[in-house]
Structures are given as structure tokens and as C-alpha cells.
Amino acid sequence: MCQCRVRLKEAWLRPLWYPVYQHRTMLSCVGALLALLLTACSTTGGSSGSSSASLSGGKAISGKTILFEIQSTPSDSFFVPVVNGARAAAAITGLKLEIEYASNDDTTEVNQVRSAIARRVAAIAVTIPDSALNQTVCEARAQGIPVVAFNINGASGEGARCVQAFIGQDFVQSGMLIAQRMIDDGLIKPGDHVFCPVESPTQVYAVERYAGVVQALKAIGASCEELGTGVDYAPARAKMVSYLLGHPNTSAIIALGHTPLDQAPAATEQVHRKIPIGGFDITPDILQAIKSGVITATVDQQPYQQGFYAVMELALYLKYGLAPSSINTSNGALIDKSNVDQVLSLAGTYR
């Protein structure tokens, strides 16, 4: 007998049409060709910043350029709300955004930032995955260019001192937050074995979230094991199913990234087990699973804030000399059944 295994989903999630590329001319040619072939697909663009300033007094900053450097790829959907937040702040302050993607390559990121320093950009907002950018951020500061890190700050030593502020999640605290929530709900008990899948176990976000989760679990005598799943949903689900079958003592899942959290409900369903699930970040499916009670809660990084405040703090520094301040964008930002409805309508754009 043929059974359908594809879950019905609501069709509310619309594609986001926005420019996420730098070489627009070349892409326009490719896109025009494709548009002829695929008339059912529409294409639209967007502006890269606005000149309508609404801040008064201080120095004139309208039209000045900020480098908004992202270490990931243009296809990383996590950064969609980050960029939206940055654009909103640029529109308010009249700054011009120059968005660049390093495609997860330190050398590319260093070169892009150095090139921006040479072009004398007014300020730099940058994701710093590791210490490779230490020297570069200090070069920028030496040239009088303010630097704020967002999303991730892996700068160390002198480099850490050159970064004026970090706008992003406190990963360790967030790890403790979700683990403690599940302990408080009675979903994790002393002696329990918790499964902690994550896309890339060696990345700073994974290491620190794991440290936070372990800290909370250790306090009650529970343990947690990581598994690298990668970013592809289908293989991630298959790996998680194998793990759950090989570790029948697993009593809870805390997924340290959105890929394993998105696939955790399907994986537990496939092994016919009801295991409490919690984790980090949001996707439409994660929110639906929270709504239906399959996922207990997720820690939201509030990525829109990361882009918005990174640009806004730089604008205030340039205009009024206000020193940038670090912000933990996940300060108690748990999404659970009580507040998921508000998030659902904003996912992918503002959340």
C-alpha cells in the first residue's frame, strides 16, 4: 500500500525577494535569460540602503559607507533577517550599506575587509568567526575606522580589544537557558543522556552553546553527546535516526543549530519515540512544531536585532561619538507555545 509521508505545510511562507549579491550586472544577464525560460518565476530587486536620514544634529553622516561583512554565503537564509535589520538601520540613519559575503573563507574575509579599509569606508560591521581577523580589525582601528562585530565574535587578544562591541547571542548563556528550561519542565532528569546534534561541531557557536548546555546538565548529573549533521536536511535526518537507534538511552534532544532542530521531530517520529526536543534558532517548521507541542522551546538569536543594532551603533558613534555597547540579542529570548503565534507571521523577515 502506498502511504504519503510528506507533511502538509501551510503555504504562508513566501519567497523573499531581495538582492544578496554584489556583482549585479553579471547576475542580471543570467537572470534575464532565465526569466525568458521561466515566466512563472518573477524577479524583483531591492535597494542597498537609503539616503533618507532622520537623525538630527551631530556630524553629517548621510551617504557615508559602512562595510557590512558576513562570513557566510549569500545563500545562508539565517542572514536574511540580519540584512533586513541592517537595511532598516541604514535607511533611518542615511548610511549606505556595502554588503559582502566571505563564503566561510577567512582569507576572503580578511581581503574584503582590507580592501574596504583601503577605500576608507566610514565604519565596519563584521562577523568574526575566529582569530584570523585579529590583525585586520586592529588595522581598521588604527586607520580611525570604527569596528563592531555582529552574530559571532571570535577575535582574541589584541584583536578582541580592537572590536568596540559585539551584537549577538551569548552562546554559553543561551546554552544554559535552553537546558535549564528543559530541566525545569521536568523533561531532563539526573542521569539522563541528552543528544546534542549540530551542523558543525567545531564552529565557535557550536562549541560555546555546547559548553552552556553541558554546564546546566552537569549541575544535575546529566550528560550530552554531540553529533555533526551538516547543513543538508535529508542526510541530517538520516544521521539522527541512526544515532537514536544506536543510543536507545537518549532521553532528550537539544539541537545546537537550526538544521538538526528542524529535522528532530521527523527523526523521532521515524524511530517511533516521543523524546522531548529543544534547541536553537527558528525555521517555519520549527515554529510549527513548537505550536503543535513537539518541540518544547527554541532560543532565538533575534538576527534582525544583530543587523539593526550593529549599523545603528556605528551610526550613533559616527554622528554623536556615542561609544558602541555590546548587546546579547538572545537575552532570555525563548520561543515556546506561549509566544510562537507572534513569531510565526514574522519568521524569515524580522525573526
Binding site: 500500500m1 502506498c2 502511504q3 504519503c4 509521508r5 510528506v6 507533511r7 505545510k9 503555504a11 511562507l13 519567497p15 523573499l16 531581495y18 544578496v20 549579491y21 556583482h23 553579471m26 547576475l27 543570467v30 537572470g31 532565465l34 525560460l37 521561466l38 512563472a40 518565476c41 524577479t43 549569500p74 545563500s75 545562508d76 537564509s77 542572514f79 536574511v80 546534534p197 553527546e225 554531540e226 553529533l227 555533526g228 551538516g230 547543513v231 543538508d232 536536511y233 535529508a234 542526510p235 535526518r237 538520516a238 544521521k239 535516526v241 541512526s242 544515532y243 537507534l245 544506536g246 536507545p248 528542524d262 521515524q270 524511530v271 517511533h272 525555521t283 517555519p284 517548521d285 524569515g348
Partner: protein
């Protein structure tokens, strides 16, 4: 094992060339070595799974179903990549093709086009991308490695231009879902597609004249063409098949997951090549079997599955898998050398 070498190149008449183009240039391989390796893993796993079902859930329906869902998503692209490798070429753009074709298909379907027609268009786009790789490679006479490295970037960017970076949901109607991601008992539809395609590729490569030409042109293109084999045509068809396979895998994955993330499938090209090498294909072309491609893809999955079921530490899983992939390839190479 019989090794049939290409004849010496001499001046030939057109009629003579036509006659030679029908010669059998396949280096005879049975894929027996990879089959033995595969069966050893299976027999050992099944015996242990039956003896100790509580600690090693290998024969549980959930594990079997998951494996049969996961393997085709690598196995189907591996069939295309393997055919192209036998023809002496590579395609590094299959990951970008997989995403682009499936996102276009899902967008068209979500915008009201018949999902069947959308899927056909997706397959057509995939095949078209493959053919374009072939035309660029053969016309400009540049290595396919370089061509497809370039087109990988172009199709990645095209996905962003057409769709953006957000995930594309895909909610197919039940009849389409049943055919692409349904369950027939505990056998997933994806696996039946993989099985059917493997048979088609076996017939094409090992029984049809086109397969003979693909082996010939991969072994020695110059000699093959001197003997009347239409080398460029064979390569072009192999490129097209590779693109179509990547698109089909993307469509099946979209139906299985209900979502397509533009950032995914970046590892697919290298994984597919690894599956083919484990399956006995050579990077220099002209050798290989469809059985090897299929079992190579299955072994990559099963190595990881067995380790996880045995409770191997998840943090170091990639190291175990890496060592075992090299080990499997080395054992296979030794077996093959001994037999030659």
C-alpha cells in the same frame, strides 16, 4: 578478467570507421569486488543485528527505511557522475544544479503550474545545465573540472537571483508525493526510482552501443575517434544524463523533506565522486560499473549508519567515516590489482 585494448591507430576509410565504432571497448569489469565488500558489511551487520537487536538496531524497520530513503539521494547523482567519469569528465556543478532545478520546480508548482509539468521542467533544466557544461567543455576545449567549477558558481548565483536565500517550501499533491516520497510497504519510492535508474544505466552502459562509446572515449578519446566512435556525442550525452540525475535527486529530496534550502548540497559533487571511486571507477576514465556506483553510494551511507548504531562517538564520526572510505578504496584497489 578480460582486458580488451584499443586497436592500433591506422588510416581508415569512413566505412571502416563505422564498422569499428561497433567494436566493444569496455574493459570488462563485473563489480564483483565491491559486491563482496558490500555483502561482507551486510552479512556481518545483519548477523549481529539479529543476535543483539537491543544494542544494534540494524534490522529494525526504522533503520532499513531510513537507509533506503537516504541512499538514493546520493546514489542517483552518483549514477550520472559515474557515467561522466567513465567518459573521462567531471561535473562539480551537480550540487548547484540539484538546488536550482528543484527550487524552480517547487516555485512553479507553488505558483499553480501542474506539479508533474513542473517536475518535468525541473528535469529538463537539470539536463540542460548538464548539456551546457558539455558544450562549453567540448567547444572551448577546457577541462570539465574548470567548466563545472565555473558553472557551479553561476547556478548558485542564479538560485539567489531567482529565489533569494530563504528556504523554498514544497507541498506536492498527494499523488505526486506518493510517487516521489511515498512508502510501498517499508520500501520508499525514492529507492524504487534508484533501483529503476540503476537498471536503465546498466542497460545503457553495459548493453547498449552508447555505453561502449562512453567507455571508449573515456579510455582514449583520440584512439576512439580515429576508430569512428563519435566521442563528443557520447560525452555530451553523459553530461546531459549527469545533469538530469542531479535534478531528479533534488526533486526527490524536495518531496521527501518538503523544503529546499539554497545553502545545501555543497558536498554532493565530492560525495558522488567518492562513491564512484569506492565503487571501482577510476579518476582517469574508461573503467567502472553501474553496480560499483550504486554500491559505492550505499557503502558511504552504511559505514556511517553502522558506526552510529554501534554507539561510536558522534563528535569524531567524520574521522571514522574518512578512514573507512580510504580503507575501502585501498582494499578494492588491491583486489583489482591482484585480479589483473
Amino acid at each position: 578478467m578480460e582486458h580488451q585494448h584499443l586497436p592500433m591507430i591506422t588510416e581508415r576509410t569512413p566505412a571502416g570507421r563505422r564498422a569499428d565504432s561497433g567494436r566493444r571497448y569496455r574493459i570488462q569489469q563485473s563489480g564483483l569486488e565491491i559486491l563482496i565488500l558490500f555483502l561482507l558489511v551486510q552479512v556481518a551487520s545483519i548477523i549481529y543485528g539479529v543476535i543483539s537487536p537491543d544494542t544494534f538496531a540494524y534490522v529494525s524497520p526504522a533503520n532499513i527505511q531510513t537507509a533506503l530513503e537516504a541512499i538514493p539521494l546520493l546514489g542517483i547523482p552518483a549514477l550520472g557522475v559515474g557515467t561522466l567519469m567513465i567518459a573521462g569528465e567531471f561535473d562539480l556543478s551537480i550540487g548547484a544544479n540539484y538546488i536550482f532545478s528543484s527550487i524552480i520546480m517547487a516555485q512553479l508548482a507553488e505558483n499553480g503550474l501542474s506539479v508533474w509539468l513542473a517536475a518535468l521542467l525541473g528535469l529538463g533544466i537539470g539536463a540542460g545545465i548538464g548539456l551546457l557544461n558539455g558544450v562549453i567543455t567540448l567547444r572551448l576545449r577546457i577541462p570539465s573540472f574548470i567548466t563545472t567549477l565555473g558553472t557551479m558558481g553561476i547556478w548558485d548565483a542564479a538560485t539567489l537571483f531567482i529565489h533569494g536565500a530563504s528556504s523554498q517550501p514544497f507541498n506536492p499533491p498527494p499523488e505526486f508525493a506518493a510517487v516521489t516520497a511515498g512508502l510501498f510497504g517499508i520500501i520508499p519510492a525514492e529507492f524504487l526510482w534508484f533501483l529503476a535508474l540503476s537498471i536503465v544505466f546498466w542497460a545503457l552502459l553495459h548493453q547498449h552501443r552508447l555505453g561502449n562509446h562512453i567507455f571508449a572515449v573515456g579510455g582514449n578519446k583520440y584512439a576512439a575517434e580515429e576508430n569512428g566512435v563519435p566521442g563528443n556525442r557520447a560525452k555530451l550525452i553523459a553530461f546531459g544524463l549527469t545533469g538530469a540525475c542531479a535534478a531528479l535527486a533534488g526533486i526527490l529530496a524536495a518531496a521527501q523533506i518538503g523544503n529546499i534550502a539554497p545553502s545545501s548540497a555543497t558536498d554532493l559533487p565530492l560525495q558522488a565522486i567518492a562513491a564512484c571511486v569506492i565503487g571501482g571507477l577510476t579518476l582517469s576514465g574508461g573503467r567502472g560499473t553501474v553496480l560499483g556506483m550504486a554500491l559505492g553510494a550505499a557503502l558511504i551511507y552504511w559505514i556511517q549508519d553502522v558506526l552510529l548504531l554501534l554507539g561510536a562517538p558522534g563528535f569524531y564520526l567524520s574521522a571514522f567515516v574518512g578512514v573507512l572510505i580510504i580503507g575501502a578504496a585501498a582494499i578494492y584497489e588491491q583486489l583489482r590489482r591482484r585480479q589483473s
